[in-house]
Symmetry: C2
Subunit: 205 residues, 2 copies
């Protein structure tokens, strides 16, 4: 694209670096910002810069937090013996939204993915092992995506966590509520039959 201004070109190039944003979308976003008040654009740019410079990660669970220890880890109402391993803060938000979980979390910050050059050292694995040495944790729940990367990560963590006397579990995989049987893929459907649950359990939501 031939831009009439270097400033415009720079801003578009920066936006186009964001995931899922191409040159045309970037231009549309930048032109939108240009139409806003200076104060509003300053607020946008300030929020981004402040976020990156002042963000903290909870020392215990490595979730994004404004304090050194996040609200969930600091809460006395949460069951500290139950630790749920998730990929990132979005998963914490999703699980919190269900109102079905009362334990604490550990945010890995990604999944093991050799294709993308992400190994265990890039994730909060060592910190998890250190944490478990001194914690009162009794059960670990793996709440990771049902993908190759998720399974690889669970496999690796399973080996690392064997030294502790912990119950390890993964979140249930099966047919989603509202899902129609004929559209479910074979692997999920097959697994949902072999890992069937007693009828009474399926009713207690």
């Amino acid at each position: 694209m031939n831009f009439s201004s270097k400033l415009l070109e720079n801003a578009v190039a920066e936006f186009a670096k964001l995931p899922g944003v191409g040159q045309k979308t970037a231009l549309r976003l930048v032109l939108h910002l240009l139409k806003q008040d200076k104060a509003e654009v300053e607020q946008f740019s300030h929020a981004v810069s402040k976020l990156r410079n002042e963000i903290q990660f909870c020392k215990t669970c490595y979730n994004i937090s404004d304090q050194a220890v996040c609200e969930i880890c600091a809460s006395h109402k949460r069951d500290q013996s139950l630790v749920c391993i998730v990929e990132d803060t979005r998963d914490v938000m999703a699980i919190e939204n269900t109102n079905q979980y009362n334990g604490v979390y550990h945010v890995l910050g990604g999944l093991i993915s050799p294709m993308d050059g992400v190994g265990p050292a890039d994730l909060e694995v060592d910190s998890l092992v250190e944490r478990l040495k001194e914690s009162e944790a009794k059960e670990i729940i793996f709440a990771l995506s049902a993908t190759m990367e998720g399974d690889t990560t669970i496999f690796y963590l399973d080996k690392r966590l064997k030294q502790f006397n912990l119950k390890l579990s993964t979140i249930a995989r099966g047919i989603a509520f509202g899902g129609e049987l004929e559209y479910v893929d074979e692997i999920t459907l097959g697994r949902s039959i072999t890992t069937r649950v007693p009828y009474e359990n399926s009713l207690s939501r």
Copy 2:
């Protein structure tokens, strides 16, 4: 959504103000930025802030420019007697990309749209009238979107520009190159028949 950090929430809220960006997309973009180097995020935020604060609009055509008069208006190679009226800088870029136009532009900065509260006073209409009083312009080309707003704007400008002895034209509407006849809508197809061009003209691209 329940955010674990106020900083995160603010940044997501700012991103979600952008057109076509919802809360989930905003969160994805913000988490992407969080994984980047501080310097890179600073560069992003700086580019946005600098753009809004230092951007200039060409005094003649009101296109985005780094100088007081843009390259196109200042060029001696461009035909100053031909003025193409467009909505915004994206249209200038699109027309420039065709390499088929050698005149100059006038960027309105929008289209008349009573539904959105945009009237002629919000656009660069008065500046166009002032410009034409002193210019050597002979022909005005309306290159506006083929929408209700575009047509309304052309209708209004036509009345305002009647005082000058100018040839007024609009860009041709018809079937796009590569378009299949059976999928073209009735209005376009009907109009393309009534405004048919001699065969020889259609060959000279």
